[in-house]
């Protein structure tokens, strides 16, 4: 066990999230050969601790009714209390990680390294990491002084999950440390996303439209293509924010996870929150006027073009070819 390397494990319905084993890989690429420790908080989390134990040195269990919902404002003071000086904590760069992480780094007095997509190693106390900027159009090498420790958030999907099973995996019950927690933010309830009139998660051919379509008035251009193809219409987040299409059609981490065979990305830049909702390695065809757009890094086929010019021609050719 490596006394100062920790992974925070989030879990859903009694199962550890996929990020748990990705974080192990990230920890090992930072500290080669290390066996990190895990932190698991919640109510009735015994099974989660058992599930992940084999991948860690120690699993610290914080089992309290008050932790039934993961409230970052409650967990932050707990972590400040229990983490040893100089600790490095890895967590997923998801909606929980970015609620907890930045403030935690301040309270611990350690360096915050957000949204890491790669690690080039450690030189002395300098962590060399890779990040992305400008919606993924460029990447950056960053050097981080982690002499005092660090809180690092790791982009979901950026690291391959570690094979489970190498470590001794001892569960240590530290629930006593989590008594009497108080926060100035209290959880009230969770409202599930509404089901819409269409279930894009079941469609095998999706045509997805992004902000590049420019105007609500241009949406029919896409709808005509969708109809000609016999496909279903989906979109990126700004289209929903602008209320041009229903939330049920949004692909991405805060929308739907889709598994189509064919995916057309029209005027979508390719942010990780969008691409994170596309699973199953579809035949991904991207049309974008910007040759630098990140979507071309993940697409199978790319076209640099103006949608307003290309779409009508494409639709007409499809109709003719029938």
């Amino acid at each position: 066990m490596d006394a100062k390397i920790f992974v925070f494990i989030t879990h859903t319905d009694g199962k550890a999230d996929d990020s748990a084993l990705e974080l192990v890989t990230a920890a090992r690429s930072l500290f080669p050969g290390c066996t990190p420790n895990a932190l698991v908080a919640g109510s009735g989390v015994g099974p989660v601790c058992q599930e992940v134990a084999a991948s860690f040195g120690e699993v610290w269990k914080f089992d309290q009714a008050a932790l039934a919902y993961p409230n970052a404002e409650l967990l932050r003071p707990l972590l400040v209390k229990v983490l040893p000086a100089g600790a490095t904590l890895l967590l997923a760069h998801n909606t929980f990680g970015l609620d907890l992480g930045p403030g935690l780094s301040v309270k611990l007095g350690v360096t915050y390294v957000p949204d890491v997509v790669g690690v080039d190693g450690l030189e002395g106390t300098t962590l060399k990491a890779v990040r992305q900027e400008y919606a993924g159009q460029v990447s950056a090498h960053v050097h981080c002084d982690i002499a005092r420790g660090a809180v690092i958030t790791v982009r979901p999907g950026a690291f391959k999950p570690a094979e489970a099973g190498a470590a001794a995996g001892q569960v240590v019950d530290r629930s006593e440390d989590a008594t009497g927690l108080a926060a100035r933010r209290t959880f009230v309830e969770l409202i599930q996303a509404e089901a819409g009139d269409i279930d894009i998660t079941r469609e095998d051919v999706l045509v997805s439209v992004g902000r590049g379509i420019g105007d609500k008035e241009n949406i029919p251009l896409v709808e005509e293509l969708v109809e000609a193809m016999g496909a279903a219409l989906s979109c990126s987040r700004p289209i929903v924010d602008a209320k041009w299409l229903d939330k049920a059609r949004q692909v991405g981490t805060s929308g739907k996870t889709v598994k189509p065979r064919v995916y057309l990305a029209l005027g979508i830049s390719g942010s990780f929150q969008h691409v994170g909702g596309i699973k199953g390695n579809p035949f991904l065809l991207a049309i974008n006027k910007n040759p630098k757009a990140a979507i071309f890094q993940v697409a199978t086929i790319g076209v640099v073009a103006d949608l307003l010019e290309l779409l009508p021609v494409l639709t007409e050719k499809i109709l003719k070819s029938r």
Binding site: G103, V106, S139, K256, R261, L285, V298, G302, K317
Partner: protein, 263 residues
């Protein structure tokens, strides 16, 4: 309610081809179109709407060089009552904690009830709001997509989490919230609105005025340093189709047919 909104001037990634400059030291800055960070615009709109409902004042602040003044002015044209610009050569090269430290100093000069930031800026770090909350020792919530004022001591808020579900909480004032897009529909700012605030004075705060020792901010205080920019090599990348619009469309039809994309 006295509300402070933090706004950043960024090259709009939807409007620009971002490319790496000589030696990777910076991106190419010539010909970039700058604007207010998308998320911050929603934060300003939300603050204005809160003040329209319960009274108070909206102040916008940006940490940046003198060019950041243009976005502060734009957000004032939207309806913010005051603008502030925090600028100092010593601020250059600040990491997220440096920016949060400067904003903390701004926040401590006046009594605010609520501070709003955007959920994330151009580099997608999503860090400044949470750090600011911790520095002030105020409660914090990220990715907020609903705010209801409940008396003068608390808010009921919604956070948007994975899959679009909404986490409802109560949070005490004063607090810091980071705002997610879609929480409202930011109002349009016309040329007349801009003209109306064209000559309003925007106070400038430097390190001295904020009581910030130079070694705590800027490159000197930064523990996270960008070394260079580069273009990622991810796998083979896309196969790019070229030709006239007709030719490209023709190739696309063939490919779609071959892959079962046309039913």
């Amino acid at each position: 309610m006295e509300i402070l909104v933090c706004v950043k001037r960024v090259p709009d990634s939807a409007e620009n081809e971002i490319s790496v400059g000589p030696g990777g030291a910076d991106i190419r800055r010539e010909d970039l179109v700058y604007s207010v960070n998308e998320w911050d615009n929603y934060a300003v709109e939300e603050a204005i709407q809160i003040v329209e409902r319960v009274g108070g004042n909206v102040t916008v602040v940006s940490v940046g060089d003198t060019e950041a003044e243009e976005i502060v002015r734009r957000e004032m044209a939207m309806g913010a009552n005051q603008g502030l610009l925090a600028t100092d050569a010593a601020f250059t090269g600040s990491d997220g904690l440096g920016i949060a430290t400067i904003l903390e100093a701004v926040a401590r000069k006046t009594k605010y009830d609520l501070i709003l930031t955007g959920a994330q800026a151009d580099d997608g770090a999503a860090q400044v709001g949470g750090m600011l909350g911790a520095l002030l020792d105020w409660p914090y919530a990220s990715l907020v997509n609903l705010i209801k004022v409940e008396g003068d001591k608390a808010l009921r808020i919604g956070r948007e989490i994975e899959g679009g579900s909404q986490e409802i909480s109560d949070i005490e004032l004063p607090c810091v919230l980071s705002i997610q897009t879609g929480i409202n529909e930011p109002r349009y700012v016309g040329i007349r609105g801009i003209r109306k605030v064209a000559s309003v004075e925007i106070p400038v705060l430097d390190g001295g005025a904020l009581g910030l020792p130079p070694e705590t901010v800027g490159a000197a205080g930064a523990r996270v340093r960008r070394v260079d920019y580069f273009v990622p090599q991810t796998g083979a990348g896309a196969e790019m189709l070229t030709g006239s619009t007709e030719e490209v469309a023709g190739k696309l039809v063939d490919l779609l047919k071959a892959k079962g994309g046309i039913k």
